[in-house]
Amino acid sequence: MKYTAKAAISALALTVAGVAHAEPQAEVLHWWTAGGEAKAVAVLQEEFSENGGTWTDMPVAGGGGDAAMTALRARVLSGNAPTAVQLKGPAIQEWYEEGVLADISSVAEAEGWADVLPAQIAEHMKCEGSWCAAPVNVHRVDWIWANKSVLDANGIEMPTTWDEFNAAAEKLKAAGVIPLAHGGQSWQDATVFETVVLGLGGPEFFQKALVDLDQDALTSDTMVKVFDEMRILRGYVDDNFSGRDWNLATAMVMNGEAAFQIMGDWAKGEFLAAGKVPGEDFLCAATPGEGYLYNVDSFAMFDVDGDDKKAGQELLAKLIVGPNFQKVFNLNKGSIPVRTDVSLDEFDDCAVKSSEDMKASAENGSLLPSYAHGMALRGAQSGAITDVVTAHFNSDMSSEDAVKMLADAVANSM
């Protein structure tokens, strides 16, 4: 009896001691497993260790996070959720509704996130008013990349309207250059589609059609025109585009085999890795039209037991939004810091332009979430739209049929 009491007390003492010196622990599920991305995450891990934390890496790559989401579901169902998970867009709120996310408001308030993050992006990090995720970066999706010497040789300027783009493409085609480098994977089709929606319809239309899923917008004449343009673009792509990875399409632009590519700013990483210089070897510009489509990576914190893990979450959240990580990570990954107070001195011209455009768009209301990269809609709806976009792009479906199918698919996905 005496012995057990003593044991109980010492156990208690141990627990108390544990609270006092809870060593931050974090098991992090992410899909940045290779190249610059992996290096970028490694920076975070180093900072985490320097602050006394223990980082357990749980990388699962594949399908833009599909495999990681499979693993995440299995982990949550088995009652063994990872501490922090790479999640983004409305998926954060979806997981919150399942009642599995932790509240990190205390860190966010202590660090003053509300003052340094653009308001619209901060909204993505909140679940019913409290903070539940930490943003990492801002990728701009509506970029058009070009091979400078190919454009110069054919006397072409960076297009500012879709008509100009079409004219330039015709000229390039006649000259025997592939106008548009593209990979026929559904997410790449969707990426081009959303830039066309933004360019032809404008920010307001984009908001109605691809964020609010307004049936009138989805079935409007503007949407028919968008599909018409998609059909025209299909003619500017070479025959072998199907299944091509995006980076191989980027390589085509680099080699001068193709002139343009429409892709988010991760494509810049490929150019830079090959030793190309922005402004000299390749050009970056926003796709024709006004507006800015963002794709923000973030980490959501899951509800876990144990003070060490909770301490880990707080430390991790603090470091992710901290200025140092924001700078180093984004230099590695091609994106820009989500904090507005980080100096961009070391960033390249494309990144500086991205940052300036983001500020301007935030002011005039044309800062919009990317549908193709899971920022605007939940998986079921964005998937339904992508199905139609990719089916249209890869067949000879008429624009009218596509619009009708789009409306049906969206309704069926609810």
Partner: protein, 302 residues
């Protein structure tokens, strides 16, 4: 069961009357076999040549061509330097996890299959066939279906994210096939053998251990090869039911190969893929002969 020789007896007998085929026909035969060999080797050829090229050459040259300059850098990197997350230790650390999963998984499922097959084939009781049919149908369940409920049960059992958990899953979904192999093999053994042994006073386990197991080498080889291939190459269970530190080599390979927004190193990808496949390739090359023998003995008369 009686004749396990692997000599081309049927054909030998079939041709014995017209001794010596025409040479032309013979050449044609070799030509056809050779063409098929090209078809089967082509992807491996592409993988091998790519793994021996430098990244610069891949970026600029044809993907399907011989390397201009052979380099083993990619192999070294894939084995111990490629990043699979923030750790850049290649596929090496994950290799061991796969071994820890595959070896017990193969042994336990094979043993269970042997015992099950023995009972179903030799100790028939009412309903044994229905049980067998139910188990066999289990082979066909698509694994995507079982992921979510399995995750829940593994959590309740307290083995979620562990190597024993993964072994458990592989055993469960392996016993359908192993039972099929052994049952079809044992069903060819005359029932009289068991009857005679019983008269001599041998029991259920004793008969299995001293009579049936020694007879089972060929089919054990088949079962081991099949299960080893399945478990070693599994990705879906590996990715769903592992946690940090227990991920098998296929998950590591996938992490190397799938960089969503980074630079792709195809030479390293291919080298990693070949390395990850070496154990199964080795099993097929070394045990292939026994595999055919085992099949000869097992499935044919089943």
């Amino acid at each position: 069961m009686t004749d396990v020789s692997a000599t081309p007896t049927a054909a030998a007998a079939a041709r014995s009357q017209g001794a010596g085929m025409k040479t032309a026909l013979r050449w044609g035969l070799y030509l056809i076999l050779g063409l098929f060999a090209v078809y089967y080797l082509m992807p491996l050829f592409v993988m091998l040549t790519t793994s021996l090229k430098s990244l610069e050459e891949i970026r600029t040259g044809d993907l399907v061509a011989l390397p201009r300059e052979v380099t083993f850098d990619a192999w070294a990197k894939a084995w111990s330097g490629a990043c699979t997350g923030i750790q850049c230790e290649g596929v090496r650390p994950y290799f061991w996890n796969s071994v820890l999963i595959a070896v017990p998984g193969v042994l336990i499922s094979t043993l269970l299959g042997a015992v099950n097959g023995y009972v179903i084939a030799q100790w028939r009781f009412k309903g044994a066939n229905i049980i067998f049919a139910l188990m066999l149908f289990g082979c066909f369940i698509p694994f995507q279906v079982v992921l979510l409920p399995m995750a829940r049960l593994l959590g309740l059992m307290g083995i979620a994210g562990t190597i024993p958990g993964l072994v458990f899953v592989h055993v469960i979904y392996g016993i359908g096939f192993t039972t099929l192999f052994f049952r079809n093999y044992y069903v060819t053994i005359p029932q009289e053998l068991v009857k005679a042994a019983k008269v001599d006073g041998a029991g259920f386990l004793r008969i299995f251990w001293s009579i049936f197991l020694p007879l089972s080498i060929p089919i054990i080889v088949v079962s081991v090869i099949w299960q080893f291939t399945q478990i070693w190459n599994d990705f879906l269970f590996g990715v769903s039911f592992s946690s940090a530190g227990t991920q098998p080599v296929t998950v590591a390979l996938n992490n190397i190969v799938n960089s969503t927004t980074g630079v792709k190193e195809y030479n390293v990808d291919m080298a990693a893929a070949i390395i990850a496949a070496l154990p199964t390739l080795l099993v097929y090359v070394v045990a292939g002969k026994y595999f055919i023998r085992g099949l000869t003995a097992g499935s044919v008369k089943g």
